[in-house]
Amino acid sequence: MGGPAYDCLTNPLGAVRFSFVNALSSGYDPASSVGKDWGVVDLFRHYFSDESAISQVPILDSSSIKWVQPKTLVRFRGMIQDMLGNEFYAGAYKDDSTWRTNKYSDVSQFPEGSSTEIQVWERRLLYCVPVPGKNQWTECSSQELKNRFLDLTGQNREKRVRVDEEMTDSMDSSTLEAGRNGSPFKKMKVGEATSSASESQVPQTSGIPPATSADSLPCLVKIYDSPESDLKLNDVVEFLGVLTFDPIVMMDTDTLDENSDALSEAESVQMPSGKVPRLHCLIHRKLETQHFLHGSSLLPEPKSPQIFKEIRESLMKYLTGLLGNDHIAAQFLLLHLLSKVHGRVDNVAVGKLSLNLIHLNKESMSIFGTQLSGALKSLLPFTQSIPLTIEYLNTASFGPKKDYGINRLMPGVLQIADGTHLILDETELQPGTLNSVGVENANLLKNLLECQKVEYDFQYYKMEMATDVQMLIFSEGKSNIMPADLVLPLQPSQVNSLEVITPETAETWRCYLATCKSLSHSIGQELQQVVENDLVAARQTDRSLGSQDLSRLLTMARMMSVSYGETTLSLEHWQMVLELERLRKERLK
């Protein structure tokens, strides 16, 4: 493609058009292509092949929306909350025997009726929200970047845009567009004003998780040329694409008669562009924890077990301190933090390890619980906590529910991204009556714990969605509402004041957890025999051991092993697990 005759960052549409012209000259036929990519994706993928280039792109959120220019390249990190189906658009049209394209833009750029040949292409609409329970540390670095970007582009932005526009075809009505969009900020105000009116009509379900509250910015992402199976509901994805606002302020909702309301996709009614920006996605990638880490990515591979061991020790020390010097509880907590579902057979989710810390009352909870949840917030990317009070259970909507009135999936508390950590505090639970909603919510929680599945209510039928959530339960006695894999009485010996950790340490620990979680795991032939024998022996002595208990032992073994950065199970670690289990059993007596 030669040197870029455009700036991918500030004039991505210019790049799109440029490459379209190129593609046309090399025989690309819009009439038969059904909108297939003509090289734009490769172009951008090449441009953003390394992390540093990507980090130049501003991240779209509630603060950056105020200064990011429309029609520039932005990034959006979020969870796919709803899929709004496909949208047909006039992808290419002939303007005086030259083909033009509308791909990656919202507005039709042709004067009405002037074109005779139009190709209808399709794109997918995804409604994305910031990941529920996203912690502060995942974004702070992008904040700095924004400032840098703002400084950088603030000066030459105007000039550059103008140059670009002159360079691109003057027939192109984008100049007009840009002129109209010159002050997006003002536009947004108008959009917001009308949107608040329309929003009031949207039935708000009570108890929407705090994460989707006012200051978080949803985004309507339009996906091109991507197989359907690529992106799934609740995936955490980074989209890189062109930001647009609809040029026309939303019409009054009053003038909409029922007629058009029923046919129109309703998303424009509910999502005024001022409130919900549109992003025409050029490239996207699924996000893992390490993408949120600042500097380095992962720890070196298992070659250096010493490093793992050192970090593990320091983290263990920290966790032990948090739990009032209860070493065993800290061990279990670490294993719990490393758990993740890595396979499903029928209804069994392999690899889950929920932990129930018991013998906690309200007072001790206020000490350990708050300390612990604070600590987890700084260690894990997504954390949420649900206080289990009768009132909350009876009123909150846990499971997502489809609202056919507005044709949207209403989020529930349990619509969360994979890898989220969930704290359930049962110490707050008082005796009381659960109504039907409460019973349903309790069932949802139970199902989540047992099968790692959440039921989505589509009114006429229900659908189970697989999730991967780490659940930590605090309760006085063993929780019967939520049967966890591991039940452990907490036996703190002293109360420590919260240790202050340096950002560097926190970063290391985050990195450690992310790395360990991503490690693969296997078992040697010999040890497999040992494990089998041990399991058989355990079952021979205690008939009450079910397959779940045996499965849990193996999960713990895996976590133990990866916590030392090792990918194969060793006898030592297996015995450590058995010992831990023995200690736990002892405590339960």
Binding site: G85, F458, V536
Partner: protein, 847 residues
């Protein structure tokens, strides 16, 4: 009805309709320019767009056009004369170019406008000749006969001529045309119809009108065509831009329907000044051109015309949203929806929650940004113009049983219809040699061991053939299974799983069920005061499986209700003035704990199960699931779990069939496969049965042990039929019978083992006492009699039981087992009942 394809004049309009292209939505409009659109006739050029007056009626114009392409008409006539239905196109006929995939170059549309009056024989943008299509349709309507009608009634009227006459008679408004018929008769016409539905259907309507008017000149209604049953059905997910303006058919569930919207078709205006009424003005593309001045010559007042609502004509319109059915949604996706536009008679044809199959035309239209804006967005709204709606038939909704009306408990997966592809997959699956093993492996794959139990359950799912003899005797085809086992042996899980799997079924727990709750009860309707029957669990699971957990905890009265259900398959009610017999053709799957919560191997099975023998005998298979500490089993479990964790977890699952497939497989087999006994199998059955009965009389034994009863042979037949069904086989083979015997034996060995002799003993189940036990008692009684005869005088001194026991032990010769006091008591009671002696507390006396 091809919404805008004309013919809005439904009741009294003149027979020549204008071309009322009405857009479904006010603030949007179908812009012909916006789409690569093939408008029929000449109404499609941009200039037309600017000039509102409606184009000349398509009807009139195409009638007046000189028939240019007669050759092809003649040809198809000739072909038809041979009586052949099919026959592809081709054949070097220049008049009918087939398979017009791509529209002609766009230069066409420029000329089209000018060539208006000469030969407008082509559908715009294509090289399809209007005349060709017209004559082909005429041929089809007039001459199509169904294949099964023999050639001897060649002079009978065609299928659709008959229906046209019928429509005229009942003054109907439409004719349903099966697309398969069209394809059979003329595949080329079918293809054209699917590709260019707007044009072809309009022509179809014209043809119908022509025919109608030849039959009955005075018939004023417009008969429209409704196509249904397309050869291919799309899924909502696969709709894409290339489907626009094509005829499609898809399935889905209605989730929302709007209220009925009156849509104006003809407007009448009145002059406010002089009171002059204008002629009806027909809606053109969703717009009515209001006359700027009064049309009366004398008045001519400007801006005086006002709409007179009650003289306008309106048509019904409704917008319905259709959503994908759950089985089409891929993992991690949400259901897609699509809007449907219903007109006239189709309105209110379905309500939310209905599953329907829709045939219609996929349309897209531009969206105006606001009602006041002329600019359009570059996106399109899509919808389906409905031609035909068919409610999905329910797989198990046979008309015979009225209880099915209660659909609140019907499961979603019940009415899954099979398309050809699925069917083929099933056929393939059923042909696999290890299908039986695979199915049993796929059944509750997370429950370990219990292979034979699973096989039994599988048989229950598939079921045998119910038989109704002319004499009125019924033989049930349902297989009843009882699981008895130690706590924690995943019985309930198995039950839950079967419940989930069975196409229809109820899960109840014995403890919470009352007799009426299980069968049916009579209640007074609070509003009308009438007595009504409410179905209980067993009636509701008619033709399904009723799973009863905690069978042993059930009250006796509730259990006794099951007697009738399990053999006669009906529930009889006689109370409160209602005497009824309801069908309850249900398989019962019950599970129970042993009476002492854990199985006591020292007690007999009957004593362990503690259920009335009459009920027990009605179970075809009784499985004892005992938790035996078995290292081998534990090792396998351990191996499995290790594999689960360290190998690719999915690979273990690979062979298993997923639950939805299994459900549909079972439903399909139950509905469509009705195996019969082959001679060989029947022979084997007889032989095996005789052998089974013989087995009781083992060598040198005089003990009469009845090992099998006629009930067992019925069970065996049912089991072997179920086994044949699994293979989709219409014949029960010998190996099915062998397997049935094995299953029975396995079940019996566990449940009917006489612990004294170790042989199979059906008496144990039927009477609660084993033959050897009976024999032992007999021996006992006779020795006591001997002793009594020896030691005691009639009316003489009494004897203590303990003394008697001592005596018995001394005699000991013919009693080889240990003797307990309670055995003696029992024997004494027997003798007492014979009037041989009298027992007074601890002492006995000879009488």
């Amino acid at each position: 009805m091809a919404s805008d394809s004309s013919l809005g004049n439904t009741n009294d309009g003149p027979p020549s309709p204008g071309e009322n292209v009405s857009s479904p939505i006010e603030n949007t409009y179908s812009s012909p320019a916006a789409l690569h659109r093939r408008r029929r006739g000449r109404s499609s050029t941009p200039t037309q767009f600017a000039t509102p007056p409606p184009p000349p009626s398509r009807l009139a114009s195409s009638n007046s056009t000189p028939p240019t392409s007669r050759p092809s008409a003649a040809r198809s006539k000739g072909r038809n004369g041979h009586g052949g239905g099919g026959g592809g196109g081709g054949g070097g006929d220049p008049g009918t170019p087939m398979s017009t995939d791509e529209p002609l170059p766009s230069s066409d549309d420029g000329e089209e406008d000018g060539g208006d009056d000469t030969t407008p024989t082509f559908v715009w943008g294509t090289n399809i000749s209007v005349q060709d299509v017209k004559s082909a349709i005429e041929m089809f309507v007039k001459h199509f006969r169904e294949a099964r009608e023999n050639s001897d009634d060649l002079f009978r009227e065609g299928k659709y001529m008959v229906s046209i006459r019928k429509v005229i008679e009942i003054e109907g408004e439409w004719i349903d045309v099966d697309a398969f018929d069209v394809f059979d008769y003329d595949p080329d016409l079918y293809n054209k119809m699917v590709r260019y539905p707007l044009e072809v259907l309009a022509i179809f309507d014209i043809v119908l009108m022509d025919i109608v008017s030849t039959i009955n000149r005075l018939f004023e209604k417009h008969v429209q065509v409704r196509i249904f049953n397309l050869r291919t059905s799309t899924s909502m997910r696969n709709l894409n831009p290339s489907d626009i303006e094509k005829m499609i058919s898809l399935k889905g569930m209605i989730i929302r329907s709007s209220s009925i919207i009156p849509e104006i078709r003809e407007a009448v205006f009145r002059c406010l000044v002089c009171g002059y009424f204008s002629d009806p003005i027909i809606v053109d593309r969703g717009k009515i051109s209001e006359p700027p001045t009064c049309l009366k010559q004398e008045c001519m007042t400007k801006n005086s015309m006002t709409l007179v609502h009650n003289r306008c004509r309106f048509a019904d319109k409704q917008i319905v949203r259709l959503q994908e059915t759950p089985d089409e949604i891929p993992e991690g996706g949400t259901p897609h929806t699509v809007s449907l536009l219903l007109h006239d008679k189709l309105v209110d044809n379905g309500k939310p929650g209905d599953r329907i199959e829709v045939t219609g035309i996929y349309r897209a239209m531009t969206v105006r940004v606001g009602p006041a804006h002329r600019t359009v967005k570059s996106v399109f709204k899509t919808y389906i113009d409905c031609l035909h709606i068919k409610k999905a038939s329910k797989l198990r909704m046979s008309a015979e049983d009225p209880m099915d009306v209660d659909n609140s408990l019907r499961r979603v997966d019940e009415d899954v219809e099979l398309d050809e592809e699925k069917l083929r997959k099933f056929q393939e699956l059923s042909k696999q040699p290890d299908i039986y093993e695979r199915l049993s492996r796929s059944l509750a794959p997370n429950i370990w061991e219990l292979d034979d139990v699973k096989k039994g359950l599988l048989c229950q799912l598939f079921g045998g053939n119910a038989l109704n003899l002319a004499s009125g005797a019924n033989f049930r085809g349902d297989i009843n299974i009882l699981l008895v086992g130690d706590p924690g042996t995943s019985k309930s899980q198995l039950l839950q799983y079967i419940h989930k799997l069975s196409p229809r079924g109820i899960y109840t727990s014995g403890r919470g069920s009352s007799a009426v709750g299980l069968t049916a009860y009579v209640a007074k309707d609070p509003e009308t005061g009438e007595t009504v029957l409410e179905s209980g669990a067993l009636v509701l699971s008619d033709r399904g499986i009723c799973c009863i957990d905690e069978f042993d905890k059930m009250s006796d009265s509730a259990r006794s209700m099951l007697h009738e259900v399990m053999e006669q398959q009906t529930v009889s009610i006689a109370k409160a003035g209602i005497i009824a017999s309801l069908n309850a053709r249900t398989s019962v799957l019950a599970c129970a704990n042993p009476s002492g919560s854990r199985y006591n191997p020292r007690l007999s099975v009957i004593e362990n199960i503690h259920l009335p023998p009459t009920l027990l005998s009605r179970f075809d298979l009784i499985y004892l699931i005992l938790d035996k500490p078995d290292e081998q089993t534990d090792r396998r479990l351990a191996k499995h779990i290790v594999a689960l964790h360290f190998e690719n977890a999915e690979s273990a699952q690979e062979e298993a069939i997923d639950i939805t497939t299994l459900t549909t497989y079972v439903s399909y087999a139950r509905k469509n496969i009705h195996p019969k006994l082959s001679d060989e199998a029947a022979e084997e059955l007889t032989r095996g049965y005789v052998e089974l009965r013989k087995a009781g009389k083992f060598a040198g034994s005089s003990k009469k042990v009845i090992t099998a009863t006629p009930r067992q042979i019925e069970s065996l037949i049912r089991l072997s039929e179920a086994l044949a069904r699994m293979r989709f086989s219409e014949w029960v083979e010998k190996h099915d019978v062998d397997e049935a015997f094995r299953l029975l034996r396995v079940a019996m060995q566990q449940s009917a083992t006489d612990h004294a002799t170790g042989t199979i003993d059906m008496d144990l189940i039927n009477t609660g006492v084993s033959a050897s036990e009976r024999m032992r008692r007999d021996t006992f009684a006779s020795s006591i009699r001997d002793i009594a005869l020896e030691k005691m005088q009639i009316g003489g001194s009494s004897m203590r039981l303990s003394e008697l026991l001592e005596e018995l032990k001394k005699h000991g010769g013919n009693i080889n087992t240990e003797i307990h006091l309670h055995d003696v008591r029992k024997a004494v009671a027997t003798l007492a009942s014979e009037g041989f002696l009298v027992a007074e507390g601890d002492r006995i006396k000879r009488v």
